[in-house]
Symmetry: C2
Amino acid sequence: MYRTHTNGELRIGDTGKEVVLSGWVQSGRDFGGLTFVDLRDRYGITQLVFSMDENPELCSLARTLGREYVVRVTGIVRERSNKNPNRATGDIEIDVREMTILNASKTPPFTIENESDGGDDIRMKYRYLDIRRDPVKENIIFRSKCGIETRKYLDGQGFIEIETPFLIKSTPEGARDFVVPSRMNPGQFYALPQSPQTFKQLLMVAGMDKYFQIVKCFRDEDLRADRQPEFTQIDCEMAFITREDILNTFEGLTKHLFKSLLDVELGDFPRMSYDEALEKFGSDKPDLRFDMQFTYLTDIAKGRDFSVFDTAETIVGICAQGQADNMSNKDIKTLTEWMQRPQIGAKGVIYVKFEHDGTIRSSVGKFFDDAALLEWKARFGAQDGDVLFVLAGETEKTRKQLSELRLEMGRRMGLMKPGEFKPLWVLDFPLLEWDEEAQRFFAMHHPFTSPKKEYVDQMKSGDFETLKRLKADAYDLVINGNEIGGGSIRIHDRDLQSKNFDLLGFTKEEAQEQFGFLMGAFEFGAPPHGGIAFGFDRLCAVMNNQTSIRDFIAFPKNNQGRDVMIDAPSKIDDAQLDELHLRLKG
Amino acid sequence: MYRTHTNGELRIGDTGKEVVLSGWVQSGRDFGGLTFVDLRDRYGITQLVFSMDENPELCSLARTLGREYVVRVTGIVRERSNKNPNRATGDIEIDVREMTILNASKTPPFTIENESDGGDDIRMKYRYLDIRRDPVKENIIFRSKCGIETRKYLDGQGFIEIETPFLIKSTPEGARDFVVPSRMNPGQFYALPQSPQTFKQLLMVAGMDKYFQIVKCFRDEDLRADRQPEFTQIDCEMAFITREDILNTFEGLTKHLFKSLLDVELGDFPRMSYDEALEKFGSDKPDLRFDMQFTYLTDIAKGRDFSVFDTAETIVGICAQGQADNMSNKDIKTLTEWMQRPQIGAKGVIYVKFEHDGTIRSSVGKFFDDAALLEWKARFGAQDGDVLFVLAGETEKTRKQLSELRLEMGRRMGLMKPGEFKPLWVLDFPLLEWDEEAQRFFAMHHPFTSPKKEYVDQMKSGDFETLKRLKADAYDLVINGNEIGGGSIRIHDRDLQSKNFDLLGFTKEEAQEQFGFLMGAFEFGAPPHGGIAFGFDRLCAVMNNQTSIRDFIAFPKNNQGRDVMIDAPSKIDDAQLDELHLRLKG
């Protein structure tokens, strides 16, 4: 037997018991005739004591232990004289009578402590040591609990978990597929699913009217920061439902997860249209932990011979309350330079500072007298002590830039409080996005998304400008400015689906070859249906106020898509390539 | 709103309520002025009634409905005059007031009924229709429940569900890998996991001492009947445990699943060594629903000038109780021919029939007089009315053949009762298997399996014959002759693991290249650990007395590894190949 208790379990009430513990040596220290060893496992740390007077042989053995050695001890629980109130087991220690070294350890390349001295690369290479550290360990345990609670809730709502296949068919629409050569079907390939989208729709046709799955998905994208080639979705679909049913069900799931895992009560989620979100926040995933809505000056700021404004489609700004004293000219200059970086690309930032003494300082004093600036002040509802930041230019671009500025000011002003959670449903996304470069429409959500009912006729017969304005029955759940999930009511009519493929530039043959099975299924009694998918990694990170998903994944890949621990991907031998009917190029 | 109730929900107590139902038209029939429609969803069937007298327009519309049309109706629940006791909703019907046809349906290619007229191929092509049928639907719902209960039990035992990666590294040991070319790492490939074996062991090194996952695994094998290229495992690993802990934990899981899903109480599972199982049943997965153990005659049946016996290593038989009257000479001839098929390859089957009147009939009367055969009878403990079947030859082969005969007799004699469940732990498998053809050892379980403690020294220094006799700390769970799962205590010592790779014919360089990360991890404090994996598809099938796993998988592949519904695998375009730095061969 390796243990009677874990290292997080013993309390003062266990005093006098003989126990067996196993774990890793966190640290050891010698005080005169005594040796103290902190023994760790995933449940906690327990202090072991060895006495040179009472058992010199055992105590000498204890003094040979290095960090991360694995030992099993038998001993008696006793009260500590010097209690540690910061540790659950801090009232007791183990008077060790026997010890077996189960395995030795080399000195680990970084310390197994909350604040590690290991950089990212070394942490990833020795991920099995990194996971021993509390912050990573806690994340992984949280993720497990989140999965359990998700299933509990959905099971309680009558959802069936159904596994969909991983070896499916490659489709050029959307992101790039990972493919898998078939040995038994020479020259042919499977693809790994980017999502179970078509399968879950087929399950609706199959009558399994409440489906879910917590499932791995795959995208062969150039990895930006915090993207992983394989990621996990809570994937759901329902039949015989309206949008309202879906929003309610998954608002319920979200509330359940926050309540059961964090003891946080989320109120009812506000809703906002995509158009409104862009107008007020310049983003389809606004962070509502702070207000700082956009205020438009286009109508009153033009015609002052300030060419930046006069040539602009939109003049729009935000009000940073109480920041007049906090932001020096140098701060504003730094902020402007931050906005001018290519990632954001603002030409400049105009500011108006309303000092507490009534003085107005601004970068556009040459063009706007105090009277004009007071008119701005009124429109913003600003007070003395506030600073306005104003951008001008093409509407879409300017809003996006101002959104970045808003978030940056939120960060600087401490308005994005960790532990505060502001969910939001964003509704009524556009159905189609025009791509200037490719000179074609793309589906904003995906090609199976239904237009809102009132747009169906326009979709069938609309001209180019009408098509650009079609609204989809699509929705996103946003929390604290992060897209947690998205979904839509789907098309369930063969002709409408076919029309959508037309609009997306598929020939009839292409549509048939790639999605014929789905359109075929629609001919055999497809029910109205819709669904949603939550990014599971992201949800876990947001619930824990963390910006990176990486430490919620046990074995993540780096930005080159490599697992540096196992050193994958790697070469395979020629015989394997031969069997797959493949050759390397060049 | 599409429905207030499902089609399995309404009872006599709901009489008078106005309800909205949606579903598929199962069937319709007209009786004079009335039209009856059975409306189906996954919850059941409800009878709708339309009256030509009361609402001719609506009734006429109902008469246009075809099978599998999707409709929504509003109506009043009323008591049926002609109740159907075989249906949960059989006491009521719906007096329909409004109806919307939500979608039409072409006539399905097979009937949506329990006994379908669709062959396997057509069922697979239209799987979304096949799943509407009760038998398939119930299997898939059962599977979902089995997953829920598995997680409930393991979560209750403190297990953490941790997702391991799908894009890993190819290793030539074991079955063939599916590989995934890496676009970002030219000429390199990921592999899809055959199991999360090394990752779960790394999680033990990482301190996550109770891991589980219900996870897809992949094997690119030539598909025999009832094998799938992707399949699902309940995958588990524990640290600081002995074999006893693992057997108890997963015996507990199995009992929980049978109790919660089938209301079957399984008693404590018997245990048997691998050697004993082979000796008594000729199989490492004996079906214990019936006894019919092997009886050996080698010592008493040689030396009678019957060359078949005299040259045999082993002479062994079974006793088919009470079959003397049931088996004609023709039956025995047919059975012998069945045993002589190449799949089994017996040279012949010797029988001895003990008639009720004391007569003995046998195929070896020329060599064995009644006195000799009565000696056989005594050894078998046979009675008048029994038949003995005896095989002779090389021990291993003969046992295997006799095992087939035992199972066949079990089937013929109705001894494999559906609904009866006989679990068994098979223990102490050999560590190594010698492959004559390859002239090397293979790991019987896998290369990470530990020898039993008492064999470690022999493993380190043993000669060829000793190595062949090494026992592993490996175990299988068998139910009704099906291998449900298997596992082992793992090696956690770098040197012993390295020695095992030596024995398996790996050079130091190969071992380092393929498994260096694991052996490296063993140097940083690897705890003693072990685990098990259950075949989830098989478990579901066995619990439901079904022989095929295919109908427990929503979208299975055929024997050529094809998904005939979506038509995968398929060709990919040249641009995609280019990006992956690949060319097709030939």
